[in-house]
């Protein structure tokens, strides 16, 4: 196998450009110029533009997923097959939040790329995301073991809300900073993690209030 030089130069350049300028306005020609390689090299090494994007995203995804599962497994082994719900949730949202938030100037290219992927969600990426379900099922299983009295529906909703808070906070971090006039410190990642985890934990452990139909505010 020849040196991966060209191949990895393309990957690095593409990730950097996508992270900085988004998928919308980065062309193959931009990428090869940044990488200092020939235009045809992309199709030679990756087959197509979409496959290049897919490879970038898959690489970063499996990294995050591996980290999540490592935290989860460690916690469950320590607890004899059953981990506290807070720890499970922290394993779920921690790696993503830590990767994508924090001081901007020290945010990695990989993190900025993943933020873009979350915001712009281009077709090849969406296709991959849909295969992420098996991974989430493992967390659903751990959560069910942690809260055996909880019904499945509540487990899934709790999982959904935990991911919602983490991802939305990443996506809209800029807006939250502006809205709060800087009062919400998104650089304090551990604080963000604890906020998300604590709310998600409450959602999953709160006693069910048998809410009847809520009194809707007068319509019309």
């Amino acid at each position: 196998m020849a040196s991966d030089h060209t191949r990895s130069a393309i990957l690095a350049a593409a990730e950097r450009l996508y992270a900085d300028r988004g998928f919308g306005d980065v062309t193959l020609r931009d990428i090869v110029a940044e990488a200092g390689v020939n235009l045809a090299a992309v199709n030679y090494h990756f087959g197509s533009k979409d496959e290049l994007i897919a490879e970038l995203f898959v690489t970063r995804s499996v990294q995050t997923n591996r980290e999540r599962l490592r935290e989860l497994k460690a916690a469950e082994e320590q607890g004899g097959g059953r981990a506290p719900i807070e720890v499970i949730l922290r394993a779920l949202v921690g790696p993503t939040l830590r990767g994508c938030l924090g001081p901007e100037n020290q945010r990695s290219t990989a993190a900025r790329f993943m933020i873009r992927a979350s915001i712009e969600s281009v077709p090849p990426i969406r296709r991959i995301k849909n295969r992420e379900i098996d991974h989430l099922r493992k967390f659903a299983g751990a959560m069910r073991r942690a809260l055996p009295e909880r019904c499945d529906v509540d487990i899934y909703w709790g999982l959904n809300f935990a991911l919602a808070m983490a991802h939305h906070t990443i996506r809209e971090s800029e807006r939250l900073t502006k809205l709060s006039e800087g009062k919400c410190d998104l650089d304090d990642v551990e604080d963000v993690v604890e906020r998300v985890v604590s709310v998600a934990t409450m959602a999953l452990t709160a006693r069910k209030t048998e809410t009847k139909a809520p009194s809707r505010v007068a319509a019309r």
Copy 2:
């Protein structure tokens, strides 16, 4: 004035196509074919493709925002200038959820368009979303009045999490259905609204746990 026929035909066709196929692969030629008008009509009536998209999104946005504020104002007047936090949150997330969830076959074109706008988030739409902050500030104000003992930071985080749960649930409704194997019923919109509202309310009213250490969180 002249009959708006062409103009509104373009708007309707564009909204329908964008809702069905996303922004990525709908061209001006698709739109004018669907609308039965000439290609140049888009630039004549709207100036550019981006301005057409912007007008579509602005129209639907102000509709939702108006509805939100109507619910909020009604609730505050009824409570003498101070509404319960649940009601405020319901006014915040209810209109959006009701517009975008529910049985698919009876989901309006407008709703499906807004879902697309939320998922794909094309540049002209993002520009408009950034101006939505003033609107959110009104809700932050109402929440502060409802929870005067709560610090601003917590208010903003609660607002952020409420929007997170609502928007993420809309964006990923398909995935949640698949993950839960249909157990989470996203057609029961009022149930979804109550779940989001109740979790957001807990997030905003729970007593602060002064744990700053992320390693160990006191259970219960």
